[in-house]
């Protein structure tokens, strides 16, 4: 876990500072999620339990937006689970790095998300990698859940559309996808996924086009000619 001295270690100050900045942004995002969830018909308890147990923003937002648009539970689940699958990819990497007893590792698995993975992989030595993982994962967990609760309480008191919160989500996704566009393969997958999704929106039930967009990962099937294989690089801490 995070020993107390980690917070006083000067070499980790940049990580702590970055985690706190990130947590502020996560807070804004979490409030938007809470408001959106309650507007889509979730109770305050449902919104909070979702953030506590699911704890992966894009999946939660995707599920809520499908429900808000009148989609079924099954289609909301499908799209959200495809998004959640990327945490499994991050977990492949973090499972090799994070040490500890089983309960510690069970908690670590839950904290394996875009931000904690990216911050950890940005460090040079294994000790700093583990510390960055726990500091970032822990602070994002705390802020995401407090913000969800606040947003859910505000809930229907504000109309998300009036405040442009419906544009906040795609804007957040833009920031998340940006680091993925550094490689040609990433750009191809992003373009193909977007085209598949938009092309299918008018003809398939809400939530299903996102599932189909995942087929765009097949651009990764041909072996790369250059030695630079895109690694399982998570979205950078936004």
């Amino acid at each position: 876990m995070t020993p107390r001295h980690v917070w006083r270690d000067p070499s980790l100050r940049p990580v702590v500072a970055a985690s706190l900045t990130l947590s502020l942004a996560i807070g804004v995002f979490g409030v938007s999620f809470g408001v959106g969830a309650v507007s889509a018909g979730a109770s305050v308890a449902q919104a909070c339990v979702m953030s506590l147990l699911v704890f992966t923003g894009a999946s939660q937002l995707s599920a809520v937006s499908v429900i808000a648009a009148g989609g079924t539970t099954a289609s909301a689940l499908g799209g959200a689970l495809v998004l959640a699958a990327r945490n499994g990819v991050y977990a492949l990497t973090m499972g090799r790095r994070v040490r500890g007893r089983l309960p510690t590792r069970l908690v670590a698995a839950q904290l394996t998300i875009d931000e904690s993975t990216a911050m950890s992989l940005a460090q040079d030595d294994p000790v700093a990698q583990r510390a960055a993982f726990w500091i970032t994962g822990g602070s994002v967990y705390v802020f995401w859940n407090l913000a969800t609760f606040a947003g859910a309480l505000i809930g229907t008191a504000i109309d998300p559309v009036t405040f442009g919160l419906d544009a906040a989500f795609p804007a957040a996704y833009v920031a998340m996808v940006w680091p993925q566009l550094r490689t040609a393969r990433g750009r191809d997958a992003a373009l193909l996924g977007s085209v598949i999704c938009l092309g299918l929106v008018p003809v398939l039930p809400v939530g299903v086009p996102i599932l189909c967009a995942a087929l765009a990962v097949l651009v990764g099937v041909p072996a790369p000619s250059a030695p630079s294989v895109p690694s399982a690089r998570p979205a950078e801490p936004a």
Binding site: A25, Q46, A80, G88, A167, F169, V177, V201
Partner: protein, 102 residues
Amino acid sequence: MSWTLVLVLAAGAYACKGVGFFLLAGRRLPAVVDRCLALIPAAVVAALVVKDTFSAGQELVVDARVPGVAVAVVLVWRRAPFVVVVVAAALVTAGVRRAGWA
């Protein structure tokens, strides 16, 4: 929204993390599988951008979200902090709506 959705999603999301963390972390996957898995965020998150910008239910629409997201793209390109990107997009969309332009 149903509790089924909340709880099944929670179980599924943790299962994704757990499978990677406990079952697969020690093994080598075929290179082709690694390459495809690494592209999931690019494919799916890009699709989410266009879906949440250009669709309302099953209809494709161009409304006040488009200028908001366009501003977000410029800000991300100019390396603005995440919180600035999100707040600016919301403000632009809200402003365009309030002005009655879209």
